[in-house]
């Protein structure tokens, strides 16, 4: 079984999931992103790496933040960008995913950024496209959201450069979360020694410990002495029903408040992939507080997406950067 993400020489061909990628490639993306952080601060926020290339944002599932950041990233690389909300067009007319893709290939797209509600959709497209076309998974079902996982690690690395010495807790709906799966794989691959998940049993997948995490059901216990708290979004439709009794009860047991935050290390950072449900999984005081790095996550998301696209289609060689950049102070961009 060949790794569908790598070419024969072991270079990144598609970015479909963090799982299965070697540490070297993750570091290559993170280091490349480092060099793109500065681009946004220039007067002309553009580099010509993808000039003449067409990037196609193919969103079968709605998204604002991810689509926008991919769009900005592609534009800063000088690519031509088309964004399609397919959920509202062809799919409703009965066209299959691959028919939609074939039509865009006929229009000479060079890269697809794909989001779909079903796990494995990006793999399906990657298997289908001709070799010169690259696929970036922007979220498939519960499976994977690799650029989110990467931007989260990038953010962590900014504030806590020594990944080998961290204790990190991921809190909330791990069961339905592609973000959590990507974060877990990214953190364990990069050598974070202790990754915890904290959630009620109804929101954890079967045998989650096989992903290499420590399982906690009690938030107070799980947050103790952690360096990083990564909160997950709770979808509205799961707030009451057979998974959870109510959003109020969830907030009491698993919501992140100032009080619970005190159990973590004093310099712990708080992250959230957005969009947040204030008062459900996170208290506004914490979301906007000085330990929150939620907005820097968004900023770094653009650099990460630029790095991924540049490596895939910009002919960027593997970079060996030694400097990781100086760690900023928490809340710097908030």
């Amino acid at each position: 079984m060949n790794n569908p993400q790598l070419d024969r020489d072991g270079n990144l061909k598609h970015l479909l999931s963090i799982e299965g990628l070697p540490k070297k490639i993750l570091n290559q993306i993170l280091d490349t992103a480092e060099s793109f952080v500065g681009v946004a601060e220039r007067e002309v926020k553009k580099v010509p790496l993808l000039r003449g290339k067409t990037v196609c944002n193919l969103f079968f599932e709605n998204s604002t933040r991810t689509r926008t950041t991919f769009e900005i990233a592609a534009k800063r690389l000088s690519a031509d960008v088309i964004s399609l909300n397919v959920s509202t067009s062809s799919q409703s007319k009965g066209e299959t995913i691959l028919d939609t893709v074939d039509n865009l290939i006929a229009m000479h797209a060079d890269m697809f950024v794909v989001r779909h509600a079903q796990s494995g959709a990006a793999h399906l497209i990657a298997k289908h496209v001709p070799p010169h076309i690259h696929v970036v998974n922007a979220g498939d079902g519960r499976h994977s959201h690799p650029t989110q996982g990467l931007l989260d690690v990038f953010t962590i690395r900014k504030y806590k450069p020594d990944l080998h010495n961290l204790r990190i807790a991921i809190v909330g709906d791990v069961l339905h979360s592609r973000v959590a799966r990507s974060e877990i794989h990214a953190l364990t691959t990069l050598g974070v020694p202790e990754v915890r998940v904290i959630a009620p049993k109804t929101l954890l997948p079967t045998q989650v410990e096989k992903l290499g995490v420590h399982v906690f059901h009690d938030m107070e216990e799980g947050l103790k002495d952690v360096d990083v708290i990564m909160m997950l979004r709770l979808q509205n439709e799961r707030m009451s029903g057979a998974m959870l009794p109510s959003s109020q009860e969830y907030f009491k047991t698993y919501g992140l408040t100032q009080e619970k935050l005190k159990l973590a290390k004093p310099d712990a950072i708080v992250m959230h992939p957005g969009p947040m449900n204030r008062g459900v999984e996170i208290d506004s005081n914490v979301a906007d507080g000085k330990q929150s790095v939620i907005l820097p996550q968004v900023t770094y998301g653009i650099a990460i997406r630029m790095a991924v696209m540049a490596i895939l289609a910009g002919g960027l060689p593997a970079q060996q950067q030694s400097s990781v950049g100086s760690p900023a102070s928490p809340g710097g961009a908030a």
Binding site: H116, G141, H143, T206, K210, L211
Partner: protein
């Protein structure tokens, strides 16, 4: 027409024959195995030196996609596949479109199949109308039309009162129920075994408990009603254990496993290989070993192909949206022989689980080389690697 097949190695599990013998056929019937009948003069002599002769295979579950799903497969294409795979008799589940719950539909299917002159088709009628699990179908009428048993295909009866009545009614007439054990609420929207692989791939799981719970209900009601029940496509270690215990207890039950589940596990899904989107889902290595052990010790009676042809487009979709099923008619024999080789099971026993045992479950003729039976047979060339060449 009189045929003599000489020098072949005859495997006939029902009659416990496993030796080099000649087979004599006259007017489409087997007239002798071993010594030539008196005055037998063959019109044709087939030399089967180095070849194995066994009864034509009997498959407990093969979808022919007619009526209704001719886009996926045609009766003629599937029956050709059956014969090419050595399958001379097969049972087809009732989940066609329309559902096989009307005697007229069954008669038409039987008639169309007979016209092809290929494999014998034995329809399983719908146990409940439209497979809705509410009202019983006309079982006696359907039997008269040619049904050999009643099935719910992959649809569960959620109302235990209905299941109970269905078993009582079937038991009244001695009809066999073919049931797939899967508790529908636990399995809802599930597409893979609820375990490590589903967790990694972000697929909704079907827990093993879904089989155990449904099985517990079915076995308990079977015990109360005395119905004859065949469990289709067992998939878990726990399920094997439950059937083993029920058989020990003396229940009138039998069961099968699909050839896929003897060879594949959840890990074969790999990177979302939609060909492995099956019902029941592929489970763990431990389950696979338990199924194999159950088949060896007779807890599991037979192997079926669970042949379910799906058109290419329906598989070119994200895993959960890809249609369930895989073709299997032409793989039943090679996969059975591969299993036998790997597990060091005798050819006699392995062939028995796809001939005599399945014929017995269906209560149909065939699956053996007894005198006066139809000369449905299969000549193959077994190799020590488990590979074989099928001769026509």
């Amino acid at each position: 027409m009189k045929i003599q097949i000489k020098n072949g190695h005859v495997i006939d599990p029902k009659n416990n024959i496993d030796s080099k013998l000649d087979v004599y056929i006259a007017a489409g019937k087997i007239v002798a195995v071993g010594n030539s009948p008196e005055g037998f003069v063959a019109n044709q002599i087939i030399d089967a030196e180095n070849l194995t002769i066994c009864p034509g295979l009997v498959d407990l579950s093969a979808r022919l996609r007619e009526p209704g799903d001719e886009y996926k497969a045609r009766l003629v294409s599937e029956l050709q596949a059956a014969v090419a795979g050595g399958v001379t008799s097969l049972a087809c589940p009732p989940d066609t479109d329309p559902v096989l719950d009307e005697p007229g539909l069954v008669e038409m299917l039987k008639h169309r199949a007979k016209q092809q002159g290929l494999a014998h088709v034995y329809p399983l009628g719908a146990l409940t109308r439209q497979l809705e699990g509410k009202a019983l179908s006309e079982m006696s009428e359907l039997t008269a039309a040619g049904c050999v048993g009643f099935s719910q295909a992959n649809v569960a009866i959620t109302d235990t009162q209905v299941l109970w009545r269905a078993m009582e009614y079937a038991a009244t007439f001695g009809f066999t129920l073919f049931l797939h054990a899967e508790e529908p609420f636990l399995a809802a929207k599930g597409v893979a075994h609820d375990g490590e692989v589903a967790t990694r791939l972000g697929l909704k799981g079907i827990p093993s408990a879904a089989e155990a719970l449904a099985l517990a209900t079915i076995l308990r009601i079977a015990q109360e009603t005395g119905a004859k029940v065949h469990i289709s496509r067992l998939s878990t270690a726990e399920g094997v254990e439950m059937v083993r215990a029920a058989k020990k207890q003396g229940l009138n039950i039998s069961c099968d496993v699909s050839a896929n589940h003897l060879h594949l596990t959840e890990h074969d899904i790999g990177y979302f290989d939609t060909n492995c989107h099956l019902k029941p889902p592929l489970r763990t290595q431990r389950d696979k070993e338990a199924l194999s052990a159950g088949l060896k010790d007779g807890t599991i009676d037979a192997i079926c192909s669970d042949h379910t042809p799906v058109d290419d487009d329906a598989k070119m979709a994200p895993f959960a949206e890809a249609e369930i099923g895989a073709t299997g008619l032409e793989l039943l024999l090679p996969l059975t022989l591969k299993w036998a080789t790997e597990q060091k099971v005798s050819l006699l026993q392995a062939i028995g689980s796809i001939t005599q045992a399945s014929a017995q479950v269906l209560g149909i003729p065939g699956g053996d080389l007894s005198i006066n039976s139809d000369a449905d047979l299969c000549v193959l060339m077994p190799m020590n690697t488990g590979k074989y060449v099928l001769m026509h």
